[in-house]
Amino acid sequence: MKVTRRQFVKGGVTAFTVSFAAPAFLSDIARAQGASRRTLVVLYLNGGNDALSTLIPYGDSFYYSRRPSVAVPAANVLQVGTDASGKVLGLHPRLTGLRQIFDQGALALIQRTGYPNSSRSHFLGTDIWSTANPANSTGTGWLGRYLDALPDPVDPLVGWSTVRELPHSLEGKKVSVPAIPSIAGYAFQSPNTGTEATYSRPTMAAIASHVPVDRPHVAFVNGTSQSALATLDRVASVGTYTGTVAYANNGLAQALKAVAGAIARGIGTKVFWVQLGGFDTHATQNTNAANAGYANLMGTIGDSLLTFHNDMRNQGLLQDTLVLQFSEFGRRISENGSQGTDHGAAGVMMAMGGGVRGGLYGTAANLNPNNVDGSLENSGGDVRYETDFRSVYARVLDSWLGANSIPILGGDFRKSTLNFL
């Protein structure tokens, strides 16, 4: 799956090595590149989020007839108003945190995002969203290309993945984004103690600084080691961060706490990646459960994002922070025989932060299986996309990160009406 980095390994050692600067200069670089102070936090919902259970078209009778056990009763949704096509919508009842942010005008909900001929495969779908290229999804990631376009030398902490595996979206040709799932675990050990122990780290750094030009794959791993050793101390400085609000003890909240710490301590990271799994809800989706399944996922998202939002706001950092949420696809409109939903097409994206123009963007589908208004595909089985996800990316790149979206996305996907930033 990771053809990108492998391809790069074959041809890119020279480019790779210049991306590393001597550790002494790193904080200067970080400061220089962090001048705008704006950060992007990408939230990926792994497994294909059931958009129709996140932003609920509770006025559509087909939503109820096609989802007898999965649908959320109209009385329970958190109403957020009417979209441009006049359809009433509501958030999942456990998204009380997001509702607060929505009411503050800092949350944009972008309906029916996707692309033509949506893939129902997790892997192909994720690769397409990662590369922003439905035609050939084996290249670099869209955020990797953004980071690659930053002026050299690029600080090794310019990106920060809070999950163990580097997401495809962050894979670039020359920038190697560190994966830091645990700040405490991000430390260097020696087998010895006392003075003897202090000799190990500089030796390991010297070994890692070797670039064997005839073996680019070894050079790549050495580059990773170098990057790790060069970032240890700054990452450790985030470990003591407590925040102005208490973060819950779950993976997403703790990841957002690390992000908040890195932002508050000003260590220069521009792009963060956080992730929540469990969205491949083929069976027993438990949309309406008190304390299980999809309902818990929504509770985790709503509560964690509210904590993060308030923490940023309390420190005056909200204006510089943008959270962008996506998933690889939405799910089938009709529930299956397992009280769950299968892989579908268009989904819902969210953008959240002090700079966001909040509200409902796009229009909800008409869920009549006869596809009365063209908003469905797959013989009325799935929601058809209305807004190309690359238009959302373009807005983030152009209007938030100050980049030029056209070369990064390989085309002009700008859409003037999609003015959430």
Partner: protein, 487 residues
């Protein structure tokens, strides 16, 4: 006898077809010719490779028992048992291929535990039938049994495997509402791969496997209770299923309508078609290239065709394919040595074999493995782990360095004892470590950095204290170096 000039090839095949070698194992294999080594690696009898009785005996890597060692019912004990087997198996290729199939049919314990609880999930994943109260055979045991067996038969077993049925929601695949999960992954991931089928084939495949379910047998709430495959004919869709590719040798694309009682044949027909499809043969060959030959060089097209042909000519049996692979010049080519990014499990097991393992418990490798990005029995999703460079996040690399530090500290007395004959000069000490770790040629800058390290803190005299500190230190630095992250 392996010629001295072929020692690098010996190390290569033991790293790839196994997990590396202890000095004793290396001496054993060095007494044989290469073709004999390949025969021995390939021609094991899966019924006579059981070494579990050695767990907890002297001379072997340790395990940690909490309330008794229960690898059939406690998942971390199952992980320990598998690591033990990887370190000590007399048939390392069996464990290597079991790991390959675990990645290929990636099934995660946690989803099963969420459905049936921790004990049942461990049984479904890892129970050894001879030790299970009801004779349950866990999925990993299936992979060990079929390590070099018939792939078509393995697919049938996988389709009926309780862990797989839970993992890909076969329990809810019923004729009124077919569940696509297994049918899709059977084609996308297990056999010929994306591009060889269309969405309509996924729906048809789902219907093929309607009724392939589980039943609880034995007496519930007693040790005799267990879950087993159960074909529920009443839930099977009996109508014909038409695909866009040939199902039968005559080119027919339609599985005929059948009586419900005979409906299981639908699945066997589809599996037969997929297992014998030329694109499945090629895809398996490409995956074997990546696993055994190189991740740096793209698969050699002629090599792929040849192995795919061997697979098809031998009725989808894997053993002839593996023999041909290990004997091929593409595999033996010295330029492909150290050209595959070591999986965390490979790195850990090789370290245990080459650095040492006396008094070390594999339990202490479980958390480091998690930090390196690989928890056995818990692949991240149905696509398995992301391989190659994707293992090498900064955090994952730190975890490797730190495991090397932990192990070197744990083995420091053994390492000092081993280094005494090599303590005359810093060069001798470094050379000793390089040889024992089956390192590729160490570049001069790296070598010199190691010499500087040995000299740091005082003039080298080869004293016991220096040997104690520096031998462990050098093993740590080498095992944590970029060069050592390749097999």
């Amino acid at each position: 006898m392996t010629l001295v000039s072929e020692w690098p090839l010996l190390d290569h095949v033991l790293r790839r077809a196994g997990f590396g070698a202890t000095p004793v194992e290396r001496d054993y294999y060095a007494r044989k010719k290469y073709s004999e080594i390949v025969d021995e690696l390939v021609d094991f009898d899966p019924l006579s490779t059981d070494i579990d009785h050695l767990i907890g005996t002297p001379g072997h890597v340790g395990v940690t028992a909490r309330n008794g060692f229960m690898p059939n019912t406690v998942v971390n004990d199952a992980r320990q048992r598998w690591l033990f087997r990887m370190v000590h198996s007399p048939a390392p290729l069996q464990e290597k291929m079991a790991l390959f199939w675990h990645h290929h049919f990636a099934t995660a314990y946690s989803k099963i535990a969420g459905t049936f609880g921790a004990t049942e999930a461990t049984r479904m994943m890892a129970a050894k039938s001879s030790e299970d109260t009801a004779g349950v055979r866990g999925q990993i045991e299936l992979f060990r049994q079929f390590a070099l067996g018939n792939f078509r038969d393995l697919l049938v077993e996988v389709a009926k495997d309780p862990a797989m049925i839970v993992w890909l929601d076969g329990r809810t695949n019923v004729k009124a509402q077919p569940q696509e999960n297994f049918g899709r992954e059977l084609m996308e991931l297990f056999t010929f791969g994306i591009g060889n089928y269309v969405e309509a084939d996924v729906y048809a495949a789902a219907r093929v496997f309607t009724g392939w379910n589980l039943a609880q047998l034995g007496t519930s709430n007693t040790p005799t209770a267990y879950y087993a495959f159960n074909y529920r004919s009443a839930q099977h869709d009996t109508a014909a299923k038409t695909f866009t590719f040939a199902i039968y040798p005559d080119g027919s694309k339609t599985i005929p309508a059948r009586a419900a009682a005979a409906g299981m044949q639908d699945g066997l027909d589809l599996i037969q078609a997929l297992a014998t499809h030329p694109e499945t043969a090629r895809r398996l060959a490409r995956r074997l290239w990546t696993w055994f030959v190189s991740e740096v060089d793209a698969p050699d097209a002629a090599w792929v065709e040849r192995l795919a042909g061997t697979y098809l000519a031998n009725g989808t049996h894997m053993r002839p394919v593996l023999r041909e692979l290990l004997l091929s010049t593409q595999f033996r080519n010295p330029k492909r040595h150290h050209q595959r990014y070591a999986w965390p499990v490979e790195f850990v097991v090789r370290s245990l074999k080459e650095v040492g393992h006396v008094g070390f418990s594999v339990n202490d490798a479980l958390t480091p493995l998690l930090n390196m990005g690989q928890q056995l029995l818990e692949p991240p999703d149905v696509n398995g782990w992301s391989l190659g460079p994707a293992w090498f996040s900064t955090g994952g690399m730190l975890a490797r360095m730190n495991f090397a530090a932990t192990l070197a500290a744990n083995q420091r007395f053994e390492l000092r004892n081993g280094s005494r004959p090599h303590g005359a000069t810093p060069q001798a000490l470094v050379n000793f470590a390089i040889a024992q770790l089956s390192m590729p040629d160490v570049p001069a800058p790296v070598y010199n950095a190691l010499l500087d390290y040995v000299r740091a803190g005082g003039t080298w005299t080869g004293s016991e204290t220096q040997l104690l500190n520096k031998t462990g230190g050098v093993f740590h630095l080498l095992a944590g170096s970029g060069e050592y992250q390749f097999v």
